[in-house]
Assembly symmetry: D2
Homo-oligomer: 165 residues x 4
């Protein structure tokens, strides 16, 4: 059965404690909804936290790795996709996610948010300046939602998937 | 838990009946070993047959799609990875597989076999002229095994994974 | 002799008249400095204008095309690089440019600006809200310069290339 | 003016002396015809020899580099395209060439030959077992020509470009 994949993206080495804590809870909540979690696959920052959260409740975790090997991969990844494309893999993260959640802001995350808007993927932003999301909304023809809590994010993911309330 | 992914590659529109029949049985056998099946994800030829085989025994199927959408995807794919890279995605097929099985020969398949040799992935060849595999063996520093039957292929996959007999 | 390549990026179909006019003058000025001009290669918006500007003074224009063919290519491109990678080619635009100039803002442009910051390429922004550049500056460890005029942009490109004044 | 780009591909570290010598003469002859030379850009084997040959007669050399920087680049490259895609860049080599010449055989070269057949690019093979080319011919709907000499290769390139004799 084709699984809905929800992408959670955010800073690696520079992730804040709050973004990391939210990412863990978000990974858990996504898995509890029965969705697959898709991340950049590395064992650091938001990717790692979201993956471990999903793993803690037996979710399925897909990691889209930038390197040519599984080095530096999160131990919570179930399905490692090894791309060897470096930052070229960011577009795969976005195209493979039904909904993209950006949790915290780094330059890689921002490139993925911009691609989400370009490729008309519903986008949720957490832990970042509201003006960033307003600028993206001005460029977007698909929804861009700020979310303050994991519960709010989950509601918006349902909306992005077109689920009936 | 990190799953072993076995890649099955082969012609799409031009696949022979024998290659297609083998691919179905191969997909089944791979799933029965508990491995994930990785294919190019399209609903045609060897990719489709292997995917449906794995699905028939409740295996997990990862499809690495060339396009920007899920159009033309096999209905047996569980985890669609949407790359938008066209033939550029072939390198992901190879890098993400622990062992590559080529079932039948087309130009796309041959490019993946050559990349498997380049990237030192164990490679199994079925339904193709023996000289093709001999030429690849001459270029390889990793194993290249011809296989006549699905059973033989499964034995070689275990070998490629480094499993003890 | 290895040529310095300067990337000019900006909206395609949605480019404003001002951004387009600036892009033409910028393409001219870049060519007059003896630098190669690198764009996304399509015959539309900022890419087209910058390319035609460089062409008008016999500059050299490299176009990094998203599709698998030269369809939709600007007639001013000298060296067409055909990637077939869709938006996956944005990372090549950035990596191949010594300095990146963003002229006008669209989602694709923003993804390239964010990658420039990620990959520590000097970045110049024209015709966009100052706060966008301020947000990028906050994320960057490489220079991010707003520019009001083509002359100012050329000065910053020299700076980005490490030229002595 | 859009330049015709001719791709010359072949082994790097493992290139034979004969393939390297031919590649130098081929690079010269391609440049003398006024065509641009496209290679994988690295300072080794067939890529290096062809690039230096073209440079020796003031040709233009485009290098499609696998890494994220210009490290290991041939000093004869005029236009460095930095992809960061590893072997994922092979598809760009093929798509950007009007005609592909494979000079000597390695696994990377074979992947590019197979992609040339897949993408229907005219293909010329030098310094390799004739059966390799026969197998590719059997899979191809575009021309695959063996060539013994540089002169013969140049004639076939003209043919591949559709030039009138």
């Amino acid at each position: 059965m084709i699984r809905n994949l929800i992408g959670v993206m955010g800073p690696g080495e520079t992730a804040s404690m709050t973004a990391t804590t939210t990412a863990y809870a978000l990974g858990q909540a996504i898995a509890q909804q029965g969705w697959g979690l898709l991340t950049g696959g590395r064992a650091v920052g938001v990717m790692e936290a979201a993956s471990q959260g999903a793993r803690s409740v037996d979710g399925i975790v897909i990691g889209i790795l930038p390197g040519e090997t599984m080095e530096q991969m999160s131990s919570a990844v179930d399905i490692p996709i090894v791309t060897g494309l470096g930052n070229g893999r960011n577009v795969i993260n976005v195209l493979s996610s039904q909904v993209v959640v950006a949790c915290g802001l780094g330059p890689g995350t921002l490139s993925e948010m911009a691609l989400a808007v370009k490729l008309r993927k519903p986008l949720i932003g957490m832990h970042m300046a509201p003006e960033i999301l307003q600028h993206l909304q001005a460029l977007a023809r698909s929804p861009v939602w700020p979310s303050q809590t994991v519960e709010e994010a989950i509601t918006h993911i349902h909306e992005g998937l077109g689920d009936r309330p």
